[in-house]
Structure formats: C-alpha cells, structure tokens
C-alpha cells in the first residue's frame, strides 16, 4: 500500500509506485503482489510511505533507489528491511516488551516460573499461582505409583549435574523395604560462580517444598531434610519461613489435606565444604560425622541416611516436580531433546537453569529449554562478549566441568552432548571467557579450588590433584617442560579412574579438556615461556614505550608511584623505564598508566 496523499505525492510517492511495479514485473511477482495506492496515512513527516501487508511493516522516507532492495529482501526473501523501517525518535527509544528483549525472549521458565512475580515470604501468593495444586492432585487423584510413573515418563533427570533419571531413582527407592525412609533436598550448591539453587529457594521456596511433598508421598516417606549451606543466609531465612507457613496451613505435618499422608521437613545447615554436595558425604554430615564420601557399591536409595533408604535430589529437580504432576509428563517431554519413551536416558527433557557469568554483557540467571545452543545462550541471551572482545572459551559445569572451544558453540546443550565433548552439565554454572583469559590459568584456578576442597579420604584425589596443581603452577611461572604436559595428562586420567567419589572423578576435567582443545596454548607456555593472553603475569615482560611516555604522558610518574618494587626509573616530564632485575611483574604499573605506554611482551 503506497500512500498517495498530497504530502507523499509531493514527495514523489507516485514514482515509488512505478518503480515498485516495474520491479515486481521484472521478478514476475505482479500476480502475487498487488500495489494499492491509499489516501493519506497521516504520518506525512516521513513520506513517501509504504505499508506491506499482511505483515504490516511500515516503511518510510523511501527513494526510488531503495525499491529493488526492498522487493528482493522483503517480498522474495521475507526479511523486512530494517533501515527503511519506521524508528521512533532516537533520543527516546521505545520501551520494548519484556517478551521482545533478547535476554528474556529465549528463556522458558519452569523451575523459576515465579521469579520476580511473587513475594517468597507469602505462601498465599504461591498458592495464587497454582501452588500446592499439584500436591492436591497427587494426593486425591493419583496413587503413589502413578506419581512415580508420571515422573519416569517425563524423562526428568537430576538437575544437580549427574543427570540420573529421577523416576528410576524413585522407583528403586520405592522397592526397598523399610519403615523409616528419607527424602532430602540438596541445596549445598558449591560451584564457584553458580547460584541457581540459591535463587530458586530465594524466589520460590514453596516450589521445592511441594516437590519434596510429592516425592515423599510417592516413596512412602514421612521425613525430609533440606541440606543447605550456611553461606546462603537469605535463602535459609526464606526457606525457614516457608516451612513454618506450610506447617501453619497443615501442608506439612500429619493428615495433609485430610488424608493419611504425613510429612515434615528439617533443615540441616552445611558449613560450606564442597564435598558435602556429594550424596554420601552430605548424609554423613547430617548424621553429624565428618563430611566424607563412601564408595557407593550400595546405593543411598537402599542405605543412605542413618542406613535407611534415602532419596536425594537437587533443588532444581524438586522445583520441577509440581509442574510435571500438574501439567502432565507429555507436556514436559514436549520440551527438550531426544526420546525418552523407551529409555529415560534417551534424551534431556524440560529446561535447565544456568548461571551465566564471566565476560558476557548480561550476566544473570537464565532458564532455557534443553537443546538450545551455547551460541544462543551466550550471544542472544547473554548479549555477547563484554567490550567487543572475542570469545575464547565457555566453561560449563563448574570446577568439575570442562572447557568448550569457540568452534563448538553450535553444540546443543543437553546432558549427553556436553559429556561427549568432555565437559558436563553439572549444576549449571556457565563461565564465559574472552581472549584476555588464559586457559592454563583458568584450569589452575579450578584445580586450586577442587584441591583445597578435597576431603583427603582417598589418595588419588588428595595427592593426585596436589601434584597436578604443582605442575600447572610450574607451567604458569615458566618452569614447565613439554614432558610435563604428558605427565599432567597421565596423572589426570589416573585421578579420574581411581578416585572414590565424583569430586575426584571430575576434578581433572578442566585440565583434560584444556589440554585437548588448547594444547597449543600450553605449548607456548612451556616452549616460549610466554602467555599469549598475558594472564600468567610471571611470564610477562613489562616495558615502557619511551616515546608515548615522554610525548603523551610527559613522564607523569604514575607508574613509578604504583610500583611496589621501586623498579621504575625516570625523572618527571621525561620518559621512564623499568629495571627488569627489580621487576616482580605484579602488573601494577600497567593498570596505573593512563596513556597505555606500558607494553607487555
């Protein structure tokens, strides 16, 4: 529809129409597209105007020369031409709809469905958003076994990282005899940079409680624990309040909803040991013993807490349960990858929450459907890399996960794909690194963490990770050799194979994946004794560009004042220089210089 009001005609809209018709004929589209002239559109200030239907795209300030492009892009390829579209005043950008903002557009909320919407300290607001309806449905319409079958059918897998099918765990637990049986919620989220579970409890504690109630009903348990780390004061406080409110309402306690079902939850506070996120160590910790894992030749569903059958699931897993019961397994299997009808290991269903951190523009908590690509998470939701730098690597799964190189960004995110490339889903940490990060340095960081957190019970983890760390440290200060890389790899594989629990079994993952995908970077460290990203400071040589220092900075002395080693010489207003013998390579001068005169080699 071409506007043929006086204003637009005066702006040559008839010529636009002619050009448009000619272009259509040239491309043999004249029968499919009709050109209509209309009366004044009213927006004369941006004429000549054209509206293309049925999309209703509004083009403005058209010129005859724009027409071929418009026809080709919009009518043939179906891509509206942005630069010709109407833009409201640039100084006053329109407020986008929440669902149109990239950060939110690709997210799908199940576990976090109430985030930012309800007051977590008011049970009534949770109930208003269909809260506890799933429990009512389970208690009145479903037998315990129906609940287990529904969860099994949904293909829900453990969100704490292992990805074990929840339904199978519940089914196994159900079959084990025993009067006393426990369900536990694992809220001992210890990965650096991960805060999914914390945020779920902080924004929607009742979802976790309801999930546990449904699980307890299906497995015949009446005792529950939430093992939560004491470093999460707000989550802890909100959870306590939520449990009290649920008790007041009779949703915890005896005769829930007038049935025979009884269940109550106790809170066990963790002291922040990473290993206590491991199931057997966690249970030992609740029992009051040192948080050390045991070999799991007998599963915890048979003999767990106090040697009774125990089902442990992660916060996010529990939070998914009410939605599955309420909306049905078929709804849940409609989201995600693979096929779980025959085999619960056959795919990854539903959504996963990730803490997106590191060098991305929009850091935060994102819940995305399984099967979304890393690229979509980082570039569409995350808004790309900060300061226009280049992406180097993505680290998923926390300190037990691995590095994924840029070339694999099209990888769909699900349990099996991530494991295939040597990383893991983990609990959902996602750390993005740019070109200024060194993978050797990052691997060292993660290994330092797991090494410190190793409980020391088994030798491979206690001594193996220590030796691996020694080697990495040597490499980052320039004492590494090429043979070290082979030794490192051998040690890493040994630790993986012979450790008692998953902490040791996965601790070498960052080292193994970085060796696999970034061996060249290791080689530069050991051969040339250089760090390409300049992150390993001991390998850097700092010098001052005398010309920049003298002409731009006029010998401003900032570097000299910042140097703790008195290694910088030079008089004010003249070029400065660094005495390499005194320099300890702290990098303070580099940060202090306002003229970028300090160079790193």
């Amino acid at each position: 529809m071409v506007c043929a009001g006086t204003g637009c005609v005066a702006n040559q809209s008839m010529k636009i129409k002619e050009a448009f018709e000619k272009e259509l004929e040239k491309r043999k589209l004249q029968d499919e597209v009709s050109v209509v002239t209309t009366g004044c559109n009213g927006f004369c200030g941006v004429g000549p105007i054209m509206v293309i239907q049925p999309d209703g795209i509004f083009y403005q300030l058209l010129k005859v020369s724009d027409i071929p492009l418009l026809v080709e892009e919009h009518l043939i390829k179906g891509r509206p031409v942005k630069k010709l579209m109407y833009v409201p005043n640039e100084n006053e950008p329109p407020i986008p709809k929440m669902s149109d903002i990239d950060f939110f557009k690709k997210q799908m909320l199940i576990a976090l469905r109430n985030r930012g919407l309800i007051d977590p300290e008011k049970i009534e607001e949770y109930i208003a958003r269909e809260g506890y309806s799933a429990l009512a449905k389970a208690l009145t319409e479903m037998k315990p076994d129906d609940v287990i079958q529904e969860i099994k059918k949904s293909g829900l897998r453990g969100r704490g990282g292992g990805g074990f099918p929840t339904g199978i765990k519940w089914e196994t637990m159900k079959k084990v005899p025993g009067e006393k049986r426990y369900v536990i919620c694992n809220a001992d989220e210890g990965d650096p940079g991960a805060f999914m579970d914390r945020s779920i409890i902080e924004s929607d504690p009742h979802a976790v409680i309801e999930g546990m109630l449904i699980g307890a009903y299906s497995m015949g348990s009446s005792d529950g624990y939430v093992y939560i780390r004491n470093e999460y004061p707000i989550a802890l406080q909100r959870l306590k309040k939520a449990i009290e409110q649920a008790r007041e309402y009779g949703l915890l306690g005896e005769n829930i909803f007038g049935t025979d079902f009884k269940f109550d939850i106790k809170i066990a506070r963790g002291a922040g040991a990473f290993v206590c996120g491991e199931s057997t160590a966690l249970m030992a910790s609740i029992e009051g013993k040192p948080g050390e894992p045991r070999a799991k030749y007998i599963h915890t569903v048979e003999k767990g807490l106090n040697d009774c059958p125990t089902c442990l699931n992660n916060v996010e897993t529990w939070a998914n349960v009410p939605r599955i019961i309420l909306k049905g397994a078929d709804w849940f299997t409609g989201i995600g990858t693979g096929d779980v009808t025959q085999n619960p290991w056959g795919g990854s269903k539903g959504t996963k929450v990730f803490s997106l951190t590191g060098k991305v523009v929009n850091t935060g908590l994102v819940e995305v459907p399984m099967g979304i690509t890393l690229k979509e998470i980082i570039f569409d939701i995350g808004g790309g890399i900060k300061d226009g730098k280049k992406l180097k690597t993505v680290q998923t799964g926390g300190p037990s996960g691995g590095f994924i190189p840029e070339s694999m960004l099209d990888l769909p995110v699900d349990y099996d794909e991530l494991t295939k490339v040597g990383s893991m889903m983990g609990s959902g940490g996602m750390i993005v690194a740019d070109e200024e990060n060194c993978v050797v340095d990052m691997a060292k960081y993660f290994l330092t963490f797991t090494q410190e957190e190793s409980c020391g019970k088994c030798i491979p983890c206690r001594e193996g990770t220590k030796r691996m760390l020694d080697i990495l440290e040597n490499i980052t200060i320039g004492n590494g050799t090429e043979e070290d890389l082979d030794l490192l790899e051998e040690l890493a594989n040994m630790v993986v194979e012979s450790s008692l629990c998953a902490l040791g079994g996965s601790a070498p993952n960052p080292v193994l994946t970085s060796l696999k995908y970034y061996r060249d970077e290791y080689l530069v460290h050991v051969r040339d004794k250089k760090c390409p990203a300049h992150a390993c400071r001991q390998l850097n040589v700092y010098t001052i560009d005398e010309e920049i220092c003298a002409t731009l900075g006029h010998g401003c002395d900032m570097c000299k004042k910042s140097c703790p080693d008195y290694a910088i010489m030079g008089e004010p207003k003249k070029a400065h220089y660094i005495d390499q013998l005194k320099c300890h390579k702290c990098g303070a001068c580099y940060d202090a210089c306002n003229f970028k005169a300090i160079k790193i080699e």
Binding site: M98, D119, E124, E125, I127, N362
Partner: protein, 128 residues
Amino acid sequence: MAKITIADLEKIREESRRTLVLREGAGRAKVTVHMGTCGIAAGARDIMSAVLKEIEDRNLTDVIVTNSGCAGLCSKEPMITVEIVNYPAPVKYIEMTPGRIKKVFESHIINGQIVKEYALAIGSETTH
C-alpha cells in the same frame, strides 16, 4: 490456623490473586523490589528504604510495596517492578538509586509517565 483442605486452596487463591493482580480497592499502584542476594548486594535494601521514604514523605496511601526474588538479570540490579492499575502491563526499572526512585515516583507512580531512561521493559516473562 487450622489445617486447610483442598477447597480452601481455591479460596486462598482467589483472595491472593486480588493482591497479586491489582484491582480496584486493593491499591492504585504496586512496587516490587527485587531482593535476591544479587539485588541486596547491589543495594536493594537502600532502594526499599527509599521507596518507603517516598511513600511516607508524599503521604501516599494507595501504593503497595512488596518484595520478590531475583528477576534473572543480575547485572542490572537493583531492579524494581512498577504496576499501576488500569495500565496494560508492569514496567521493570533497572539500576535503581534512591535518586532514581524519586524520579520514578514523581513521574510514573504519581503522573503515570514511564521514566524511559531507566525502564528495561514492559510486561512479564511468559511462564509455563
């Protein structure tokens, strides 16, 4: 409080929906301060105080203040959500400061004009 039955659940739901979705009588505007750990670390407690102070200073009786968890976009905290009755959708404001709160009250809550500079988006996330 006595134990609730499934029928009570429906009753509570109806009652609470009234405060969740603004209706006549309940209030004219609702301000939600997002107070997850990230929000509080970024200063959400000060924002909460600033909101309460604005209400007190202006003697507003029809503004509901509530808190909620993290909205997900932790890098833009502290955030608030402002809902006004008869407005199509709630508005999320990012990177709040006590000074900006003043502006939001003056312009949006009292005069109905969205403060575009601080607004992130309108509407809510679709939930399942």
